[in-house]
Amino acid sequence: MKNIFKGSLVALALILSSVAAKAQEAGGTLAFLVQPEPPTLASYVSTSGPIGLVMPKVYEGLFDYDNDGKMVPMLAESYEMSADGKTVTFNLRKGVRWHDGEPFTSADVKFTILEVLKKVHPRGPNSFREVSRIDTPDDHTAIFHLDNPAPYMMRSFSAYESPMVPMHLLEGQDIKSAPLANNPVGTGPFKFVEWKKGQYIRLDKNEDYWQEGLPYLDRIVGRFIPDASTRTAAMENGEVMYAAYNAIPNIDAVRLKERDDIDVTTDGYSMINPMALIEFNTKEGPFVDPAIRRAISTAIDRRFMIDTIFFGYGKPATSALSSNYKATNLHAEMPNYPETGDVDAANAMLDAAGYARDGDGVRMRAVLDIIPYGEDWRRAGEYLKQAMGDIGIEIELRYEDVPTWLKRVYHNYDFEMNVNYFYQLPDPVLGVHRHYGTNQIRQGTHFVNSSRYSNPELDALLDSGSKEPDAAKRTATYQEIQEILANDMPVVNLFELEFLTVYNTELKGAYGSAMGAYGSFREAWLED
């Protein structure tokens, strides 16, 4: 494993140098869409989407990841892993300075991992759970000591997932409320200048960036435009040049794609793996019986949802795991996931399970909650209402605001079924386990096992899946996991979302990283 990573680092260094040989033009301002306005800029406390769009330009990680998932050296130049996988030594880049002039050292890395990410980051406690100690023999070496091998940890060193933050501005303070949050000081290619609430965030070029000649842009401005149609108009008018994470609605993206000066890509989301799904309350209410949940999964025309709501962007789910895990041989196709739905089969399943229709043709009534993140999800709810009507389940839709919805689903468990989407992230341990494990039934914690599904057999498999270093054995484990989940269906996966990035073709070099919009944009440049 160590050698594979080592080799890829060399390959990447080559790619990087060849990229640098092209004729970039320096200068210019890139205005792009940030939607919605972020609540804070503390990317080490919050993984809120819009923060990810802005902060990786200011803070950097130890590594970046290219489109093939290979590691690109950033603040760390290389690493070595011991044979037992329990000691990882990082060789840090020399001569890197924070935006305030202080040097970046191994002490910053140790502090960031142990005191910040492991304690206050939403996913850090999971990513770095095996890290028990970090030694810093000198300013440019950090040695991580792990209790158990943690292969997934090596996937979480990006600027978005694990930003390195300055110890000298946080030490001795309450990390969550330190003033660094909204006056960020990083090592990245751009410096934070100003956040004008309701309007924009302005970042200016870091003239002392460690990589000679980078960044190309003089300035990056993230604009907030609340209305989707106006965002599209601003893109058409050239007022903004880059819009990721469906900031431009798909229907407009499809239209804009036809223009010469605008293009659309689905690249840059492979580390995210978003999955649309329905969570069921498996403890009380109408969906306690897995047979009903299987019937619902069978009845849904996933292709129709993708084509009508997302205008063709997306892949029908075929299992509890994203098909993007095929790269690591973890994904397997499962029954009960017909692409265009099979209403007759679903009805037969419900008949067989003894759910008879009443005089109005209704077998049962239920309330469907909808994730309050925009119009697309309302459409999804409206489609599901119709589809479930076809199999005799009469649905009432409920669309509440974010705090009400979060409280209902993750705190009060006062729901029957809930349309939602989860990021499955680059490894199931990071993004999928939180959905199904008994230890993930954590009342009051958002985006975990709200179905309250508990299966000791599955728990054991999840546990071995997270620790198993052998690839073939891991594949077998996840095969079993997927079989159990396809049968019990505590969650019905709908489709893998494909987010769109819409960009002006004058903008070059913003797409090289697997992090996409969550990347640093240090190699982005504008062609006249």
Binding site: I251, D252, T308, I370, G381, E382, Q386, Y399
Partner: protein, 277 residues
């Protein structure tokens, strides 16, 4: 009555407005006959242009019939407008009548309460009420009523103030009529005409507020209304203009017609204007 109609029909645009409203009401009443199915039904090919695939006014992104939505939505939009107005007028009359008739401390107190509701920025307050009561047709009606009644209260109070000192009211007192009877039987009928005018305009405003709330995603997701259609179609205005333009036009025509009628009523009921015509 006949004389009133004669005065009313002199205003041709008011007659036009009345005709339009009658047509809209007819449309709403016969919705189940014109389109005898659930307007949310996925009826055919999504985003069909008007006149294609059997859709008179086109279909939306899920393949729902826009025309069916407009016909069924008419019922909802009119009902929301009417009920919200009735509630607001009721509260307004209650406050205004008590305030104007009794005066003194009661007047003072009731008017302070009215001022409170007039001072809060109304659209944001409506949004707040819907968000707190959870989006549904009931919360929309409640929110619209709550932000609309103060105007009625002030109007009614003014009318009661001026009417209560009139001779016929004094006569009723001498006859020993109860206060309630005097208010309901004697004074109220005499200030009905301005109430009717302001009420008719409130129906139009209520329909507009409902569409504004739906635009912001605060409508009832289970009931077809024009506001719902606009909310569902607004992001595709550029690609599929018909999805939200037709319901928008429906709102426009209805609100326009109601306003024309209101204006006609005003002219016909206002004695001072009569002299000039």
């Amino acid at each position: 009555m006949l004389a009133f109609w004669h005065r009313y029909k002199r205003n041709r645009s008011a007659v036009f407005g009345l005709v339009v409203i009658v047509l809209v009401v007819l449309m709403a009443a016969t919705a189940d006959f014109l389109y005898p199915f659930d307007p949310f039904r996925l009826a055919g090919k999504p985003l069909s242009a008007p006149g294609t695939n059997g859709f008179l006014l086109g279909s939306d992104s899920l393949g729902r019939d826009v025309a069916a939505g407009i016909v069924h939505g008419a019922k909802t939009s009119l009902l929301i407008g009417l009920i919200a107005t009735l509630v607001a007028v009721f509260i307004g009359i209650l406050f205004g009548a008590l305030s104007g008739y009794y005066g003194g401390q009661l007047d003072n107190m009731l008017m302070r309460i009215t001022e409170i509701f007039q001072t809060i920025p109304s659209f944001i307050f409506a949004i707040l009420l819907v968000a707190i009561l959870k989006p549904s047709i009931y919360s929309v009606v409640i929110a619209i009523s709550v932000v609309s009644w103060p105007g009625v209260a002030r109007l009614v109070r003014g009318e009661f103030l001026s009417l209560k000192s009139r001779e016929f009211v004094q006569a009723c007192h001498t006859l020993g009529m109860s206060d309630l009877r005097i208010m309901l039987r004697e004074i109220l009928p005499n200030c009905l005409s301005p109430i009717i005018v302001i009420g008719s305009l409130m129906v139009a405003t209520a329909i507009l507020i409902e569409s504004g709330l739906s635009f912001l995603g605060l409508g009832d997701p289970n009931i077809m209304s024009w506001g719902f259609q606009i909310g569902a179609g607004r992001t595709m205005l550029r690609s599929a203009w018909w999805v939200c333009t037709f319901p928008g036009v429906a709102i426009l025509i209805t609100v326009l017609a109601i306003n024309l009628v209101g204006e006609g009523l005003n002219d016909a009921l206002n004695p001072r204007l009569r002299e000039r015509n």
